[in-house]
Symmetry: C3
Subunit: 430 residues, 3 copies
């Protein structure tokens, strides 16, 4: 796979898209998701799907659609002491409509604050139990006087549909790589505008190059979205050879890869190789929580889908609060994630098995222009890579096996195989 | 397996039993063992077996029976300078009878002292070579004047029998767990009154609860006792699915588990899980010495029998000396060992394989009352356990596998499986 | 295998032989190699082989033969400013003949100096590209005035033959162990007179003892020599069960073993056991560069051949320079290497599988004189070894397996097996 432009422009494009998407009030259904997918569709080709409320999807049912116009808590004089227009985090996602006069005592059970930080608004949801609620800073709550409030959630919650989108980029093979991110969070930047914009840019990069594998990029609401997709795509599932859930990828933490349930699938080995070579890169074992990898890795599917993240879910202080703002993500971090994802793709695309056609003794590299003339000094990395590929290409070891054993970067091993193939010293096994 | 009372009373009961047994002069045969088993039989149902001297047992022969009434070294005026009545350690176990006047020089080859501590009496035996001897403190030996002594060992050594006892607690299955301890040491507290009293209390606890497996508790003289038992119970051997030798379990060291020869038998995994989670708990590889595990793990039997101990044989300063007194053992330490043993039993009883009945995607836990309603915070350990059991229950992984992979305690995983079984989300595979 | 004399004399014999061989100008062909093999042949029986230039050997061709009489760079007045007679390193090995008057500027492209040390002559070769060159110290080069020089390489480079030698020591079995070293370096002591003299002494030691395995010691020019040998001995290859390349074994670094490509072949396990027990001993993974192990471990042969060295290639400062002089090697270091090699041979010779003939319970060692009479103290290493061999001899574990699991030295385990065999407690499985 040839490289694509990863200059400042990619990072800036991602930040710009994130900024446009930030104010939208996304949830697991509704117009916020639709507006988000429309923006993404400006940059990459997207198939948007609507699935009606009430549709059975695996063990679940597509829920009613939620949309919200406005919400507030106001004093008798009409002053909004809590205002949805200031931050869409102020309303518990999927709050049912309410319009009431309530005392502070009556309001209290519907109020959520952040456990630690006095000035942060927490993010809360109630998708599957009908209720309503407001999220306030501790300071806001503390300032509320013991009086009567006008409480309004101007929302609709009823039959509609769930919205998700796919971008399918066909390759030479039908084998598919799925790349999935969740689009259900409102104004939270790292979780998960970062995932959305990296996936968008990744789709644009992949669309521009020849592909051996087919790539399917999924923009889905968390949990119910991947469940809905799985439910409607059982014929695609057997073709999936690798996958990544990409989320929380804009913060300053170093890159992390969480293995699939299988633990040693091709994607696990490819991603471990790439992430393991990064400064501070972490490779973590599978655990059955996190994001949509939970669904892809359920035992009935057991797909080879890992997770690319920077700070894992809940590992950063700002997680699920108003502090997860655009300030938390940066172009260089988004670009670094994009670069890692593309390197993993390079391994998935480029890994294959060769056979040494001159396996007895080393072939004489010198007369083929593959070796320096005057001997006695140290071998270069390129020369070592040639020797490794020759030594290991017995039909049993792939280039990734060789990169792992030699501790050389995959692209160096890949380049050595190309030089050896060009001089007829190795042949690809198909 | 429901919990049994493990309060202060259990520790105190164990110390009280140890105190009653301490003065008895046990050896590999004789009345000391019989009196010991009589005391134990007051608390739990015991089958006592007598095997005649001369009986061939595997490669060995049941030895003559040894009993001792009195022994001393006295000066001409009748003053006992070494006195069996002061400590039964003063006489080498299995000393043949002697009654003689000896000079100090003649006595000297029959005297043993502790290699390090001047005030400790060492513990010595000579089961299979006929001789006699006295064990003295260095100080006692140093104080002996160069004169003539009356030397008396008033013992009998002749045909009789070897005594051991079993407590069999039948379970729903014929599969057996053997729990074995040695009863051949005289007045030594940690080695091995501690093992005797823990095994006694363990039998009482197991007798009080329903059992899936059958438990066979063995009180045997070391080496020759387990060899005799194995020789007479070859039809039981194939039913043994797990076992523990329990010895030296009252001292302050943290709990240790020594693996069976197989290294990864069910009991090894169960005990490693339990012991590995304890503060300072150590899991050690099998070595072919120690106590009766040597016999159970001989290659002709190769039984899955590990060893539960605190300080391993020879690892505590007081080992095989008069300093291994009742002061070395304590109720809390005995109770801790009992608790570990019962936890291991809980794993052996409770481990089994489930199948997820809703394996595609996660089932919706919320509508089954298994998930909090308002999302956004961190999952609890109980919720994680539900997800782990669902994710791993593909028919290949047992609850212990899941506990190991998730690093959750077995009982938490066990409880999660119960909740999922109650809501028909998993079914036990039989 | 009984021990051989490894006293001061062996180390001194090795140093003396190295001193006699040091001045000879070896290369991959020519009279320097022949003179070297003649000297070695004084000590051990050698079959010397000549293979004509132009002979195809695997992917290579035996090159023309190179011999050199003299070489120098001289000023107009005949003063030699660079003189082959002072050090044969001054000439690039395989320099083609030249006789010319050159300006310093014209000479310059043919001059090599050491990258770091101003007073060291580097070692350079140009076997497969026709050129000529001189190796100078940085100081020599700096002192050259900008004038005209007489440049002479009085060498011949034309059809002849490549020379190598074998010493075959037949054993009871046809299974072969190859022990190989390179003989192509000129006046360099550690690389590789050290390998040559250790291999010579090893041959002498092996010749003096009974052998289960057949040993084939190879003195070959690097790369082309092992390729030539492999090409001409394809019928021997299937009989090779183990092998060692021995090189750079006289310097002060601790002993190192580099695994074969297979990684866990018998020789890898034997050598890891021996080297791993030495102070500072290192066991390194296979890499496809170094010395002739590259050829033996090429995928078409994949022989179980590891490498015994002290400092690996390029790991010592003096590598491939005039500082790799006789001062760098020492009798004690050569002897230590010889001892390690003989210990590895001991394992290869002595490893086998026994069956415990009394596998149920421990046999009673006491009545067979294999156990102390008075019990209660700590077991000795010899007693532990007896118990380990008995416990593990179920027909599945070799003595080396037992040494590895018990962490006892192989020779202790071997001795225990002998004692148990002598008392009919174990029998060798053939």
């Amino acid at each position: 796979m040839t490289t694509v432009s990863r200059g400042t422009s990619a990072g800036e494009r991602m930040i710009q898209l994130a900024s446009r998407l930030f104010p939208l009030c996304r949830s697991i259904t509704g117009d916020g998701v639709r507006a988000t997918l429309r923006e993404i569709g400006e940059r990459i080709p997207l198939d948007v799907h609507e699935v009606a409320s009430g549709t059975p999807v695996l063990d679940w049912t597509v829920p009613d659609e939620w949309n919200i116009e406005d919400a507030y808590v106001a004093t008798a004089d009409g002053t909004r002491v809590v205002d949805f227009r200031a931050s869409n985090l102020h309303v518990v996602s999927y709050s049912e409509p309410v319009r009431a006069e309530l005392t502070l005592a009556e309001l209290r059970p519907h109020v959520h604050t952040h456990a630690v930080e006095p000035d942060w608004i927490p993010y809360r949801t109630s998708y599957y139990e009908r209720t309503w609620g407001f999220c306030l800073t501790q300071r806001q709550l503390g300032a509320l006087e013991d009086t009567t409030y006008e409480v309004v959630v101007d929302a609709t919650l009823g039959p509609g549909s769930l919205t998700y989108a796919e971008c399918v980029l066909p390759g030479a093979l039908e084998d598919e790589v799925i790349l999935s991110t969740h689009v259900c969070h409102p104004s939270l930047a790292n979780d998960n505008l970062s995932g959305i914009v990296v996936l968008t840019e990744l789709a644009a990069a992949l669309a521009a190059v020849p592909r051996r594998l087919t790539y399917r990029l999924l923009f889905v609401p968390g949990t119910i979205g991947s469940i809905t997709w799985l439910s409607r795509n059982e014929e695609v599932v057997p073709r999936i050879v690798a996958g990544l859930v990409i989320a929380c990828v804009g913060d300053p933490a170093p890159i992390s890869y969480k293995r699939s349930r299988r633990g040693n699938a091709g994607v696990d080995r490819a991603a471990s190789h790439v992430v393991g070579r990064r400064d501070g890169g972490r490779v973590l074992d599978f655990v059955p929580w996190g994001w949509d990898e939970r669904q892809y890795n359920s035992p009935g599917f057991d797909l080879p889908v890992g997770t690319l993240t920077r700070s894992a879910e809940g590992e950063f202080r700002e997680y699920h609060s108003s502090a997860d703002s655009l300030d938390l993500i940066a172009p260089a971090q988004l670009e670094d994630t994009l670069g890692v994802a593309l390197e993993i793709v390079d391994v998935l695309e480029g890994d294959c098995v060769y056979r040494n056609l001159s396996p007895k003794g080393e072939p004489q590299l010198g007369r083929r222009g593959l070796y320096r003339a005057v001997g006695g000094g140290d071998p270069s990395t390129d020369q070592l890579a040639l020797l490794w590929v020759l030594n290991q290409s017995d039909g049993e070891h792939s280039l990734l096996d060789i990169a792992e054993r030699s501790a050389l970067p995959f692209h160096v091993v890949r380049a050595a195989a190309d030089r050896l193939e060009a001089t007829n010293l190795v042949a690809r096994i198909t």
